[in-house]
Symmetry: none
Subunit: 70 residues, 2 copies
DNA sequence: CGTCAATAGGGTAATTAGGGGT
DNA sequence: TCTGTCCTAATTACCCTATTGA
């Protein structure tokens, strides 16, 4: 089959994002509800997050530790 | 415009739809059974999904961050 | 006709959503 | 204000075998 469905956008589950940030999945859910992070809902209501966006956010927090930029 | 013959609606397999939503193919099947997404059945019973409908649904359920700048 | 990957289906375990309270 | 935990209900993930599609 190999359908040319190009979509390199990898999505992460709340649990994955929670592991990356070392927080509870609930906290990730709150971030999404607060509009601080983009979210994609499944028809069932569960959330998925863009890996690129999560990485960007993570990188921003990392640079904050060694950089006084705010 | 080099193909004015027809406009073939691309059909996606459960596996491809599952990849787009980052879920299990079985979950996509449940969505079809629950009527949450339109499905086309092959004579053998396998399901196919319209790409336009899937992408539309995906875009509709996507929420971008209000503001990543801080 | 035969081969290989994907799908359907049923059942059970794990994850997630949402609200409430610390 | 923000986060971690408790609860229930709903959704999703993984196990299996048989059939379909290419």
């Amino acid at each position: 089959m190999a359908a040319p469905t190009q979509n390199p956008e990898r999505l992460l589950t709340p649990g994955e994002v929670a592991t990356l940030f070392r927080v509870d999945p609930k906290t990730v859910t709150r971030w999404a509800s607060a509009g601080r992070i983009g979210s994609i809902r499944t028809p069932g209501g569960h959330r998925r997050f863009r890996e690129s966006e999560v990485r960007g956010l993570l990188a921003d927090l990392t640079s904050e530790a060694s950089n006084g930029l705010r």
